[in-house]
């Protein structure tokens, strides 16, 4: 799981720290906005826009404490903050400092107030402010008098006559430069104006606050009290007398009268004291709502609760089932929850929350917490408070992995170890795990552990002071029971000590004391004192620190547990893979998803930030997203566990060389948009920061990948689960038997599962074979090259291209042979046609006999058939004398047909003929090919069956090896493949195998038929504009492909089409500088970055091209200088990546294939060549389109044109 943290690091590296973004690890370095929000418990929509040092003056009338000044009332120095909708003041300077300690935050409020709204001051929604006046005072340059809506209904006229009305008015003196003060005031003015509309909302929200009722004016004496929880119906827990509820209520009434209520409440020291002694029953809910900040959530969206309920009414979910099971066991001892009324409220709140936060849904213990809340507050209030709890107070406690719970247990354990080392040692010795005892304390916020009345007292403090209270109380419990716990030696004893302690909380802590006052102190009071005095050092920041420290370990544990679980539950297919492979797959699967999620988030936030920063000054605010709710990591709870196609590509690119695109960092476009507007080509975002592939290179996109995806996606949900991926891979890698792999491959192309693969499928198969092999073959390959007769003999080795006939080149031959044989042995679709089809085939084939037909001779003559300049890739079409592969020949069934032209590999030394008349040759070849290919004649539908496919594969040693080992071996589950970046950049240093160099790469979902598009003549015209680079690649193909072409096999067309793409890519990306380099024939050009929109069309000489850049070294190594040099020099492979607008081509293909006769080889060639040569952009396309009047051609021509235009 190390991987995950490195992802985070990677993500961080993507960020420019100077921009103040720190999104991937919000905990470690919380943004100012999130600190601000948690200080004042504001919704995440709020950002600190302005702040200024200020002095708050509360007039004597409503001052209950503070520095008394006869003239000026009570004064507090602090900071005034303005956000979008709030004006906040706090004396606690700690808000933005993680290092803040109790001492810095307890100046006014006693020593235990570490964070949150615990300082003195206020949190006014701007809509609660009625009027702000600038005071003209000699003393103060800038003093504001603020009066609020406190106690005033909107019907202001009526209010004026009210005798008991005391308008709340405070004064704030700003301390700052004149400019700063002006700025603040401007902001405030704007904010006030913007929030005027919310006054109604505020009134609506406060109407549900009990304080409004408590302080209601005389004339409303008979008003109905708002819902203050089930307690109003079923009595509040505890004896009100014992709780001194009435006295508390009076004190609160007085405080609220003096200091404002709910939205307009001023926090003074008495406020905190009143909370510490326990809230009165009817106000408890409201004060919880206020101190937790859930009141502001409700203010933001007062109807969310009701809306959610009605929106999802009648709907079912897993969470609802789970909730249902627990309704009867949620505080069953409280009468309210023995009634339908209470159960109904509980059900509704839990259900509504499970809908709005589906990630959390429902977690056991929430039932208990919500039940407790409902005793004191309305459903809506409880709903929002639950929200605040889950998001801010105890994040991750109730998540699907409960990581927050486990983390806080870890934190708690380390605090115990630190503060009570002896007890800790005892626990360790007696092998008692503390968390089995303490976990329920935290998870249920003590509600389930202590008698309710005491648990509520803890909650009173918890909501105002935050989660540190849970730790303080927990530590105090252990400290107080230390002696007895030291005697307990097992879980049972430990539990029973604590059980009896909790049961005796209302008893005297010092029953035997002589001192009656001391005797009167209950154990609970003692607990509070110990918690908040003795453990006052436990602050928000110390907890935060410990959480951070332990977070990774906890997440790792959860993740390894999740991983074990997941791997065990992967189903029977997973047995075919080793445990290590499964483990690696698991890591990769979630790694890719996580990384993508992080990237997405960063990109989104970055975009948002930019958008915002261009509009306003609050850029920093905008950059803070999601307000610290982390997602993505498995351990954090529900993360994506579904892999879409793009993620699948990325996943494969991590384990398969062939799945890496050949071009670096082309921005991703998803399939849809790509089809729609993708023809605009691969515009490059200037900012690589936003690359959707992160630091890695772009994964390839190829029809084969899509097929694989669809095959694995067994239920056609367009998403893969880990299980599907494992099953998919198990079939490829699991059994490792060649027949299985062959069958699998066949199935991939047997779209309708009828056991037949048609012409189209055969071509696609061969295309895939080329795609898969373009970076070379892996596994153990026999060094023999006997399958093919190769004129250029040389050492063959797996690396390919050293001398003579590299494996991959031989493989190309094998693929040609494959196609040929497939067609040869294919069954006609309609038996009735069979004879004629065969006959026709025979005739045509005969007519293509190179030695007989004059035109064929052209084909036979490489020079004659060479297309295009020697400088150009036309040479890829150059033909050599045909030589049948002996093996192929041997296997040919006895028949009277002349052997179809076989695919023969040319001598690698084929020379380019610079002066050739391309056009002429091309015309010839076209005519020739038209006749040539009966197999491709769409009027003769045919198909192969699995046995045929098998036979054809097994007829070729190399293909056999491909299915036997190379293909399965190309999935590197455990080690993966070298970093994606290196895969791309390595092109220069260590050339990929010939195919890629030749430009086969660029796996694109190409319909071969589409190749028929661009037409020959057009292409010829364009040929003049050819570029050296691609030309080099083309030359590499000469001699390889000759007979393929002769054969009319479309694989050649395909190859060339890719060349074309490579070419186009080159055009698109080559820089002028590069071009001139090419022209000069200067070598060493190795940075793809300098390829940009190059104007193509320079006809470099073959020689110069040979000396080109990256190609040079490789060429030398290969010993086939001219050809290979060109191939590499052209660097077509890398470029072809960008030609990777495969999707757009898929679209084009589909379009073209309908109209284009599959068998029209010349057309194909022409198209390919045209595309390949058609440099320089749309002009050549125009030519291409116009050159031939055929619909399909036009179609492709257009496509190309658009692409070029782009």
């Amino acid at each position: 799981m190390q991987a995950f943290s490195s992802f985070v690091q990677k993500a961080q590296q993507l960020l420019d720290p100077s921009q103040g973004l720190n999104l991937s690890d919000s905990d470690r370095n919380p943004s100012k906005a999130s600190l601000f929000q948690s200080q004042f418990r504001l919704p995440s929509s709020q950002h600190p826009l302005y702040e200024i040092t200020a002095e708050l003056t509360i007039p004597p009338a409503n001052a209950t404490q503070g520095d008394r000044d006869r003239d000026r009332g009570y004064q507090y120095a602090g900071k005034l903050h303005l956000s979008e909708a709030f004006l906040c003041f706090s004396t606690t300077p700690s808000s933005f400092l993680q290092s803040a300690s109790t001492s810095t935050s307890s100046i006014f409020t006693g020593q235990t107030h570490g964070s949150g709204p615990s300082g003195n001051g206020f949190t006014f929604p701007l809509c609660s402010i009625r009027r702000v006046e600038r005071l003209h005072s000699q003393n103060f340059q800038f003093a504001l008098s603020i009066s609020t809506w406190n106690g005033i209904s909107q019907d202001a006229a009526k209010e004026k006559d009210r005798k008991d009305l005391r308008e709340q008015r405070i004064t704030i003196q700003l301390a700052g430069s004149r400019q700063a003060c002006e700025r603040f005031c401007d902001g405030l003015k704007k904010g006030l104006r913007a929030n005027v509309g919310n006054v109604g909302k505020m009134k609506q929200v406060t109407a549900e606050c009990y304080s409004e009722y408590l302080l209601r004016p005389e004339d409303k004496k008979n008003a109905i009290p708002p819902d203050a929880g089930l307690g109003m119906l079923f009595k509040y827990p505890g004896d009100p007398k014992k709780l001194r509820d009435r006295a508390k209520m009076r004190l609160w009434a007085e405080y609220l009268r003096d200091n404002g209520r709910n939205m307009t409440l001023l926090r003074q020291p008495t406020f905190h004291k009143l909370i510490r002694v326990g809230l009165p029953n009817r106000l408890r809910g409201e004060i919880w709502e206020l101190t937790s900040g859930s009141l502001y959530l409700r203010l933001e969206n007062p109807t969310l609760y009701a809306d959610t309920l009605s929106k999802f009414s009648g709907k079912e979910s897993l969470a609802i089932d789970e909730i249902e099971k627990d309704l009867n066991r949620s505080l069953p001892e409280y009468p309210g929850f023995q009634s339908d009324e209470g159960i109904g409220r509980l059900r509704r709140v839990l259900t509504a929350y499970s809908w709005v936060n589906a990630d959390v849904g429902y977690c056991q213990a929430m039932n208990i917490v919500v039940a407790a809340l409902l005793i004191y507050m309305s459903e809506a209030q409880a709903f929002f408070l639950l929200s605040a709890l889950c998001d801010r107070f105890v994040p991750g406690y109730y998540s699907t992995t409960m990581y927050g719970t486990l983390l806080d247990q870890k934190v708690f354990e380390s605090l115990v170890e630190k503060t009570m080392p002896i007890l800790w040692e005892h626990l360790v010795k007696s092998d008692v795990q503390l968390s089995v005892v303490s976990l329920p304390w935290f998870l249920s916020l003590y509600i389930n552990s202590m008698p309710l009345v005491f648990a509520f007292r803890v909650l009173d403090v918890f909501f105002v002071e935050g989660p540190k209270v849970l730790f303080q109380v927990g530590l105090a419990i252990l400290r107080i029971n230390g002696e007895e716990l030291l005697d307990a030696a097992d879980d049972g004893a430990f539990i029973s000590v604590l059980k009896s302690y909790f049961a005796s909380l209302d008893e005297s802590a010092h029953p035997k004391s002589e001192n009656p006052k001391l005797r009167a102190v209950t154990k609970f009071q003692e607990l509070m004192v110990v918690a908040f005095k003795e453990f006052s050092g436990i602050t928000h920041s110390s907890i935060t620190e410990l959480r951070l420290k332990n977070k990774d370990a906890v997440l790792n544990n959860i993740e390894s547990f999740a991983k074990r679980t997941a791997i065990r539950n992967l189903g029977p297919d997973s047995k075919l893979l080793s445990n290590d492979e499964l483990g690696a797959l698991y890591d990769r699967f979630y790694g890719v998803l996580y990384e993508r999620q992080q990237r997405d988030r960063i990109i989104k936030q970055e975009l948002a930030r930019r958008a915002k920063s261009s509009r306003s000054r609050i850029a920093e605010a905008a950059s803070e997203g999601g307000h610290g709710i982390e997602k993505g990591r498995v351990g954090l709870g529900p993360s994506t566990s579904l892999m879409d196609y793009d993620a699948f590509r990325e996943f494969l690119a991590g384990i398969c060389k062939w799945a890496i695109s050949d071009a670096p960092s082309t921005p991703r476009r998803d399939a849809v948009t790509e089809k729609e507007k993708g023809f605009y080509g691969s515009f490059r975002r200037s900012d690589s920061l936003l690359s959707p592939w992160g630091a890695g290179s772009e994964p390839a996109d190829h029809e084969f990948l899509r097929r694989l995806f669809q095959k694995w996606d067994t239920d056609s949900s367009s998403a893969l689960t880990l299980q599907k991926v494992v099953s998919g891979l198990a079939r490829i890698k699991g059994k490792r038997d060649i027949m299985g792999t062959i069958n699998y491959f066949f199935e991939l192309y047997d779209d309708d599962g009828d056991g037949k693969v048609d012409r189209e499928g055969i071509l696609r198969m061969s295309e895939a074979l080329l795609f898969l092999s373009r970076r070379g073959l892996e596994g153990t390959l026999s060094p023999s090259n006997s399958t093919l007769t190769l004129s250029g003999e040389g050492a063959n080795n797996d690396q390919g291209d050293v001398l003579g006939q590299p494996v991959s080149e031989r493989f190309l031959g094998s693929v040609s042979a494959f196609i040929r044989r497939c067609f040869e042995y294919a069954d006609p679709d309609h038996p009735s046609n069979q004879d004629s089809a065969v006959q026709e085939l025979g005739d045509k084939l005969a007519s293509t006999d190179l030695k007989e037909e004059p035109e064929s001779e052209q084909l036979a003559n490489p020079d004659a058939f060479a297309i295009g300049d020697d400088d150009d890739e036309d040479d890829l079409l150059a033909m050599d004398s045909p030589t049948s592969s002996p093996k192929a020949a041997a296997q040919r069934p006895a028949s009277n047909q002349p052997p179809p032209p076989t695919i023969q590999l040319n001598s690698p030394t084929t020379q380019l003929s610079p002066g050739d008349d391309i056009a002429a040759r091309r015309r010839v070849s076209k005519a020739q090919s038209e006749k040539a290919n009966i197999a491709l004649d769409p009027s003769n539908p045919l198909h192969i069956t699995l046995p045929t496919f098998r036979m054809v594969v097994l007829a070729d040693e190399l293909l056999e090896q491909f299915f036997e080992s190379a293909f399965p071996a190309s999935f590197h589950l455990i080690d993966g493949i070298a970093g994606p970046t290196s895969a791309t950049t390595s092109t220069a240093a260590s050339p990929l195998t010939t195919f890629s160099s030749l430009g086969f790469g660029a796996g694109r979902a190409a319909n071969p038929a589409a190749a028929a598009a661009g037409q020959g003549p057009a292409a010829f015209g364009a040929a003049g504009a050819a570029v050296a680079g691609a030309g080099g690649a083309g030359r590499g193909l000469r001699g390889v492909l000759d007979n393929i072409v002769t054969d009319g096999m479309r694989v050649a067309a395909e190859v060339r089409r890719r060349m074309e793409e490579a070419q186009r890519e080159l055009e698109r990306n080559a820089l002028p500088g590069q071009q001139s380099q090419q022209q000069r024939g200067s070598g060493a050009r190795d940075d793809e970055d300098d390829e940009d929109d190059e104007e193509l069309g320079a006809p470099p000489g073959a020689g110069s091209a040979g000396g080109n850049g990256k190609g040079a070294a490789a060429a030398a190594a290969a010993g086939a200088a001219g050809r290979y040099a060109y191939a590499y020099g052209g660097d077509a492979e890398r470029r072809s990546v960008r030609s990777s607008d495969r999707d757009l081509l898929t679209g084009a293909d589909a379009e073209a294939s309908d109209a284009a006769p599959v068998g029209d080889v010349p057309a194909i060639e022409g198209g390919v060549v045209g595309g390949g040569l058609g440099e320089g952009g749309s002009s050549s396309v125009g030519v291409s389109g116009g050159g031939r009047g055929r619909a399909a051609e036009m179609g492709t021509g257009k496509v190309v044109g658009i692409e070029f235009d782009g």
Partner: protein
């Protein structure tokens, strides 16, 4: 807890119940501890802790039972509870095949992550819902029930074969009727090797320490093993 002064040696055994939600874990414990069957009113947070003694001819075993919470998400807390357990009851509902899959998962988890010597019993619960029901005799029961269209979905054979392969105790029970419930616990008590029993914890510290040592090696649980190292006897 004070050492009981009973004549027979008494030792405590930590036992954990694992299994899919609603297979009847809590009901089994309740039956064993209180000989009672009722809807569970106890809100379980994390896990419920109960104890019950089991008298064997030669000694008394005091079971310290951790009944883990039912909800799926609590599964990630399970390592905390099986951490140093000497015995485990892995329960499935024999009317629900998926619950056996889940049970197998727990068995694998325990075998790999829990104390090496842990005694595991596989328990198929809700036997009363099958035609044969409780009261009949063990294996023959289950075998006959399969084809008679009752609620049984997991055959005795299947589970039993699996249990034998994995070296687990195997019982089919009904918490509702009480059938085979005590038997399970007694079988477990008997299966606990004498050596791994600590007689009343304090004095048996060396045992405990030894066990803790093993834990450290085998456990990847959330527990801070570094901290534990400090104790190492």
């Amino acid at each position: 807890m004070a050492d009981s002064n009973a004549p027979k040696p008494s030792s405590s055994v930590k036992l954990v119940l694992l299994g899919e939600a609603a297979v009847g874990k809590s009901s089994l414990v309740l039956r064993f501890v209180n000989n009672d069957f009722q809807e569970n009113k106890e809100p379980t947070i994390g896990a419920a802790f109960l104890t019950q003694k089991c008298n064997l001819p030669t000694r008394t075993i005091k079971f310290e039972i951790w009944d883990t919470a039912g909800q799926e998400r609590f599964a990630s807390l399970a390592p905390m509870y099986y951490r140093n357990a000497q015995a485990a009851l892995v329960v499935y509902d024999l009317t629900k095949p998926t619950s056996l899959i889940k049970a197998k998962h727990w068995v694998a988890e325990l075998q790999r992550q829990a104390s090496p010597g842990i005694v595991i019993a596989l328990v198929g619960n809700k036997l009363d819902l099958t035609n044969t029901g409780p009261g009949g005799g063990g294996d023959a029961d289950g075998a006959g029930a399969e084809d008679s269209g009752d609620a049984r979905k997991v055959t005795t054979e299947e589970a039993k074969t699996y249990a034998e392969e994995e070296g687990l105790l195997f019982y089919e029970t009904s918490a509702k009727t009480g059938y085979n419930v005590t038997e399970v616990f007694t079988a477990i008590a008997n299966a606990i090797p004498e050596t791994s029993l600590k007689t009343a914890r304090g004095p048996g510290a060396s045992h405990a320490g030894g066990r803790a040592e093993e834990q450290r090696v085998n456990l990847n649980g959330p527990r801070d093993s570094n901290a534990k190292e400090a104790c190492a006897c």
